[in-house]
Symmetry: C2
DNA sequence: ATACAGGTTGGAGTAAACTCTAAGTCAAGC
DNA sequence: GCTTGACTTAGAGTTTACTCCAACCTGTAT
């Protein structure tokens, strides 16, 4: 599979793909005799892995560390498990943060939906965390 | 409330707090006659709002835009609602991405937990997206 | 009185993750 | 034979979000 195809498949730029390879987020991919990248099934698996982890906000450095461990063979099972557990904890925490903000947002959006209809913004002290700066005296 | 107290309360640096004010993620906070920041309840509400949104990965620019709208008064209810809806969609998508990666991770971690015990890494083609670079011929 | 803790400013510096540029190689089509 | 398009590299530039620095002010404790 050519670079172009891979880029299209994953909606990613060639530059990013080369960058990922350069920093080790994906290992060196297969080349044609002309030194042109020709992604094998396995290479594509690596690309997919990288993109998925990056999508979830895992830092490039951490993905690269995992890939490095994978290339070192069977002695690194434990280290890989530990790294992935760490990654998991990070993502779980990230989801929690997002969920908290989502709750706040739902409440605020509901208030604004009401405000758009009635022209009045209901102000609930129980949900204290508001900018509401238009109520400031100036 | 002094800057130091706010920093402690939210585990944030004074530099970041000043930066947030500079770029409009929080509006100009109340000052003492000595020109020293003295956060009112409302200022703190803004800080909390900013930190919560940033925690969920909302870009600084978007938070600033929201705060700007808030300062412009009641005519911006609609615009604020729309902006918050946009923010919500972004966060929902982010959570989905994280959840997808989480599923992958659970599977992989389970495999490694098994591998650590048995010394053998089970390879399941159904869950294709694997670097598995140690299986490459070199 | 003088040091110190805690502020203030403008502006420079940094880290992460791309993203772009310049200069070169190579095969295919006209 | 020459252009076009798709690649190659090293390295520079950009964006975002801080983070640090130097030089200054000011109320309190020794």
């Amino acid at each position: 599979m050519t670079m172009k195809e891979v880029c299209k498949k994953y909606s990613i730029s060639p530059d990013t793909l080369r960058y990922y390879e350069r920093v080790g987020v994906i290992p060196a991919v297969h080349r044609t005799k002309n030194n042109v990248r020709d992604y094998t099934e396995q290479d594509i698996g690596c690309v997919e892995n990288a993109i998925c982890m990056r999508n979830a906000g895992v830092p490039v450095e951490m993905v690269a560390k995992y890939v490095e461990l994978c290339q070192q063979g069977d002695e690194t099972f434990l280290a890989r498990r530990d790294l992935l557990r760490e990654v998991r904890e990070g993502i779980v925490r990230q989801i929690e943060k997002c969920q908290r903000e989502l709750e706040r947002l739902e409440y605020k959006i509901a208030r604004y939906e009401n405000a758009v209809e009635t022209g009045e913004l209901v102000w609930d002290r129980a949900f204290s965390l508001e900018p509401e700066t238009e109520k400031k005296e100036d």
